[in-house]
Symmetry: C2
Subunit: 466 residues, 2 copies
Amino acid sequence: MSSDDACDCVVIGAGLSGLVAARDLRRAGLRVLVLEASPRIGGRMQRTRLECDAWIDLGGQWVGATQDRMQALLDACAITRFASPHVGRTVLHFDAQRYEFSGFFQGFPEGDAPAIDAAHWQDAMNAWQRFDALAQSLHGEYPHQNAHALKLDACSLAQWIDANTSTPFARWYFEYMSRAVGFLGPAEPHEVSLLHALWGQKSAPQAEHPEAQLMHGGAGQVPALIAAELDEVIRVDEPVVSIRERGDALQITSTRATYRSAHAIIAMPPCNAARIVFDPPLSSARQLLGAQMRMGRCAKVLLSYSTPWWREHGLSGLAMGNRPCIELVADSSDPSMSTGVLAAFVVGDRYARWIALAAPARRDAVLDDLAQYFGASARHPTSYHEVDWPQEPWIGGAFAGFMPPRAWTECGDALRVPHGRVHWAGTEIAPRWAGFFDGAVRTGEDAGRAVIDLHRASSHAKGKLF
Amino acid sequence: MSSDDACDCVVIGAGLSGLVAARDLRRAGLRVLVLEASPRIGGRMQRTRLECDAWIDLGGQWVGATQDRMQALLDACAITRFASPHVGRTVLHFDAQRYEFSGFFQGFPEGDAPAIDAAHWQDAMNAWQRFDALAQSLHGEYPHQNAHALKLDACSLAQWIDANTSTPFARWYFEYMSRAVGFLGPAEPHEVSLLHALWGQKSAPQAEHPEAQLMHGGAGQVPALIAAELDEVIRVDEPVVSIRERGDALQITSTRATYRSAHAIIAMPPCNAARIVFDPPLSSARQLLGAQMRMGRCAKVLLSYSTPWWREHGLSGLAMGNRPCIELVADSSDPSMSTGVLAAFVVGDRYARWIALAAPARRDAVLDDLAQYFGASARHPTSYHEVDWPQEPWIGGAFAGFMPPRAWTECGDALRVPHGRVHWAGTEIAPRWAGFFDGAVRTGEDAGRAVIDLHRASSHAKGKLF
């Protein structure tokens, strides 16, 4: 590509955020190129079709009613939603005891509580109340902007749990929230900053039910729908190696070519963007951010059955507990199909132990846990898919990146500041719904708008000369 | 390169470790290719010549008498050493007070102590004694192999300092040891695992004076001397993007070509190796290691003067203290030249604040501190070089990588385990003198030997067929 082929913006990363940015730039008339390192677009949004014709989401799947940017995108794509299956009893499996209860808890409980020791339950709920109150005391666009941020960021969530719970159940409950539900990226409590976990509850509140809806046909259909507007400008299997500012443009070198562009948008988790060489180099705060943020260690296992047979036993398909492998399972069956689908999650240290097993042992571990939650029928799925997100070369984890202690206060300021002509997008940097689809859409739109404004200002300035 | 051009081993990274490995492979008759991402070889070993003809080391410079692998390499290269300048009084600048004393302290004190409050001094020395005793209690090849490793690895060095010092001087003394002297990679005490810091003192003991010698002509001449044996097989400016195992060989793709090789040696800090895509993917422990290890945030500033004028004032040129910018300065003048050279270090949070300044303000900050240590003459160097190691694209920091809390016990086992046909080298993975030249030579030799053995075993097995 010669400089005559220069474009107005190169978008790096064809996940949801990058595709949204590229689409907006294109619609505004800018010359856009999208470079994606991996052989496929979509990032953490990916679906596959089962033999029975049902779609399953290998990546993210849920959307909440208040996630307005994602809701608008789904409307524009004419993708209809249905309520996540919730009729029936929830299962809790704690310390080898199994409980069924007509309620739900991710954060504050709704409906009935499981029949565990009342003092233990109360300990968990009291601690949650304190946690939520602390979370609500945060304000601003980002958590490190709070006066008491330094203190909250200096300790891990584990240290807070130690100081605020006195029973094994309460302790596990927060561990489960951190690992399986994930405060902006799933982490073991000792890995994650307390401030980060609190910010998760503030900026992506459980009370707004971020997992309330699923999509007919799966969330994984979205990338291709956006890409349909962009097809000839997306190049896959083309990692970017370096971005150099040269005169009034960027020189962007991939494994295949060097491109000239007025601007770039990097739509990748900050820790992955650190793989690119920048000249001039990134600020030291931005480098530190890249070195410190880590992707969640989370695998998703999808099991399908000819029917959602658990409903016959009065179960909703939602289960959680401190089993050796699976801490959270959710019914993900599309009501327009007869197939039953369960989505199960293996997170944190459980992931590390599980992924080290051979494939048959991994499957056995998953089926053992599901049988404990739902009964022996769980042992006979018609399909079984494991998605090992940490091993995905250009992604490195799921659902999202998280901040270890001190990272927010040390480098939070660098999260969104453009690096000259280089702008940032991606769910990790969203001020609201970070770690969710909505955060990806939001930051993609924002980055697109920023570049469009700069492009127009520059065209206008040039126009004046004639 | 077609498969006919296949080689026996591709070495990735042309720093000291990679060059040593490649040299040994070549000498054993193997077909070798060295791929270096940056435009020059040598990694953290680099020198430049001043107008006065003296050489200064922009990277590592010292060697200790007991660093036997590096000593042997220097002998083989016919590089002579001289004692680091040490005649004269040391300067300590603490809390705005300046002290001169005829001694030295990095770890246990030698010679006289500075005239600070005796109780504060004693607090520091007592704490150091406890720290050293704890360090000496470790055994084995790596620290996580100790029974009590988990406990020591779960807390940061900062937490140990809190519990074991009661005076500001003692606290700063450990901070200084962690930042400026560096326990296997310089870090702020809150960033680094206590186990890691202890292991530094055990496996690279201050008592053995690792900074006792300097090299005539500088350490930075070593890479080119080794490369002289390898010239036509080193390719610079060629980052490796992916390593795929295909049949009985590796397919190694750089930004320029794809190579076929029976083996590979990756001679890079583990956190940088994480930029390469592996198929099959790395073990989850190795990935976690790459995500957690961090390079030290350390810049080196070199100042030259027409003479080592500080000696006229009876000063050795060694100074340390809690100044805003420079915590450690050392005389690095070659006695065969008339030029005086000071090497000063800006580390950790001081680095982050300093590098954010404009160039004239950075220089002023350095000169202010040097003038406080040595007097106003320090303000007029004849040359001034800043080396911003964290911003070096393919290196990312200096002197070395360090482990945050829990990383050793979570992923220490993965440090040296080959990934199929991929072997590891680099100072970060050395069981002794990690973070020093010696660790680089040692692991380069080890990796070379492992591949040579495999190559011979395989040639032997093939030979039997005929």
